[in-house]
Amino acid sequence: MNVVSAMPAPAADVRLLSGNHACALAATAAGCRFFAGYPITPSSEIAERLSLELPKVDGVFVQMEDEIAAMAAVIGASMGGLKSMTATSGPGFSLKQENLGYAAGAEIPCVIVNVMRGGPSTGMPTRPSQADIMQARWGSHGDYPLIALAPASVREIYDETIRAFDLAELYRTPVVLLYDQVIAQLSETVALGAAHPRGRVERKWASGPAADYKPYAADGDAIPAMPLPGAGYRTHTTGLTHAEDGFPTQNPEAVTRNLSRLFSKLDGRRDAIDSWETIHCEDAEIVIVAIGISARAAMRAIEECRAKGVRAGLFRPVTLWPFPQAALREAAAKAKAVLVPEMNTGQLRLEVERVLAGAPVKGLNLFSGEAIAPAQIAASITALAKEVR
């Protein structure tokens, strides 16, 4: 993509922001009033910015003693009624997983930013990767659904951060915002203001008589109304499997019913949750599937290839989990082959292979700590096009 031509016309509210700063500003715009975090490269700018922004709006910033505590405090604040967020990177994301599972199981809205850096373990703190794609979906133990969003530009980080809060609050679920170190620390101009959606979504709070209230009973929409502490409901919240009354149960029917509802809550809303971008897929012989900075490089490669007569297109999941599978099937319906460039050994490719079972899917995998260059993708497209012609 030609970034310069995509710039919005200068206006009073245009700012030069890094991805992490855009995330922080979007959080307060979305109504976030609590952030707990722990310093970790390359996500620390989000915490730093929010330590300045939150006091301005009567919010609370706290730096906790570790990553686990930060996730726990975010859930605690959300249970208290505030829109809440934490931000971290690989090692910290690993540490947060147990409590992330608690948020999923107890249905506590929260937003978790994971800026992807090279791994495994301490890995490459200042270098990009996209190797937490599968961890974002499956990182905590047990079966649970969640939403993960994968923005590809600073402007999109701003928009998707706001959407992350809206989805978390609407559906009472943790939402992971997953982006790589490149766009986290890349500075681009972003037009803030009326053109962008503002978080106005409010959680469904319990109302009505306390005597009849069951905290995990949901009417047709599968989303239980949440009790606000102090409002007279005096309920119990637990990470144990629980019945509609919120108290622990191991009754097989109650357990099955509750977990089924948890999944149906998101499964039944794919039209609202799925989001993606397609570029030139209509006539593409090669469809590229990519996220984050790899998708940006792919946009440039596609232009170069098209100029040379190779018809390539891009399918870019913005909602990464649940994966927008119906949209990918449609976008790749006429393609002869699919290319998945990603900064890992082939995680997104696994999902693409599952969705397009039987179709020829190739990977372009770079896990050296470098971003994939447009020329590398263009070369892969050209080679793949020769193979399938």
């Binding site: 009033r33 609590f34 707990a36 939150l54 006091p55 301005k56 009567d58 609370v60 706290v62 906790m64 003693e65 570790d66 686990i68 505590a69 930060a70 726990a72 405090a73 975010v74 859930i75 605690g76 604040a77 959300s78 249970m79 208290g80 009624g81 505030l82 809440s84 147990e98 409590n99 608690y102 009790p227 502490p229 102090g230 409002a231 007279g232 409901y233 005096r234 309920t235 119990h236 919240t237 637990t238 990470g239 144990l240 108290f247 622990p248």
Partner: protein, 279 residues
């Protein structure tokens, strides 16, 4: 101590009757700790709607479900961290943490020391029964040396933590200890903790009779209770200067106090000053 209020206090007013009978073993001390907490809540006339109880995992962690309040049963070792978020978000609530010796000192030890240092208003009750009871009786950070547990079949070779000395050293604004044998005294200590404007840490010496007591042939529940203050659980900081383990010298009551500023109020006042244009 006012025995008079005992007449007015009916513990069932504060319990979730649908959760009875409770699941604690016969002879377990945790019920007395729970009674003392609810009695303290009653004496201080804390509105149940304004009471939030956050508990971790283990026998102590299960107590929150019995309390007719806003209750949160969270992950192992993390109740102080969850409560930190809740209390910062909702300074209008009385936030009480119920935790056990393993929950608080082993897996959750980091949260304890930083909560002591940070001094956010929370009342933390650590029920110390010297053992991981719910998982079947494994050694904990407070198990006395030489004790038998399912993971120290040869006798515990590790020294135990003195949780109150730890909390004091970490800067807790209020540190106290009491035994479940003295419920009215324990109630008064909890009341003092609840009134403290800052982080209050209270260690409650409880007994695991069914698992720990039986394994170590410590006798009946009353016999175990009578030894709660004895040499069985010496004070770590005394045994560094004294010949260890004099009988009946375990200090109880309020052990440490300071008047460091409460974190939540300090944060909010700095934020308000910044909003008003001050630095």
């Amino acid at each position: 101590m006012s025995i008079d209020t005992a007449a007015a206090f009916d513990v069932t007013d504060y319990l979730r009757k649908q959760m009875m009978p409770h699941f604690l073993c016969p002879g377990c001390g945790h019920g007395m700790a729970l009674r003392a907490l609810l009695w303290a809540i009653h004496d201080l006339e804390i509105d149940k709607d304004a009471l939030a109880v956050v508990s971790g995992i283990g026998c102590a962690g299960r107590l929150s479900a019995y309390i007719d309040a806003n209750t949160f049963h969270v992950t192992h070792g993390r109740p102080i961290a969850y409560a930190t978020g809740l209390a910062l978000a909702r300074p209008d609530l009385h936030v009480v943490v119920i935790t056990g010796d393993g929950d608080c000192l082993a897996i959750g030890g980091n949260h304890l020391i930083h909560a002591c240092r940070r001094n956010l208003k929370l009342t933390c009750l650590m029920l110390n029964n010297e053992v991981y009871g719910m998982t079947g009786g494994q050694v904990s950070p407070t198990t006395s040396q030489s004790r038998l547990t399912t993971t120290t079949p040869l006798g515990n070779a590790e020294p135990h933590f003195d949780a109150c000395a730890l909390a004091t050293a970490a800067g807790a604004g209020f540190v106290g200890r009491e035994v479940t044998r003295h419920v009215p005294k324990l109630k008064e200590l909890i009341k003092a903790g609840l009134r403290h404007e800052g982080f209050a840490f209270i260690e409650i010496l409880s007994d695991c009779t069914e698992i720990f007591g039986r394994k170590n042939e410590m006798g009946s529940s009353p016999e175990m209770m009578m030894r709660q203050k004895s040499e069985l659980r010496p004070s770590a900081y005394r045994d560094t200067v004294d010949t260890p383990f004099r009988a009946n010298d375990l200090p109880t009551g309020i052990l440490a106090r300071n008047d460091r500023p409460e974190y939540g109020a300090a944060y909010r006042s700095a934020a308000a000053a910044a909003r008003n244009g001050a630095r």
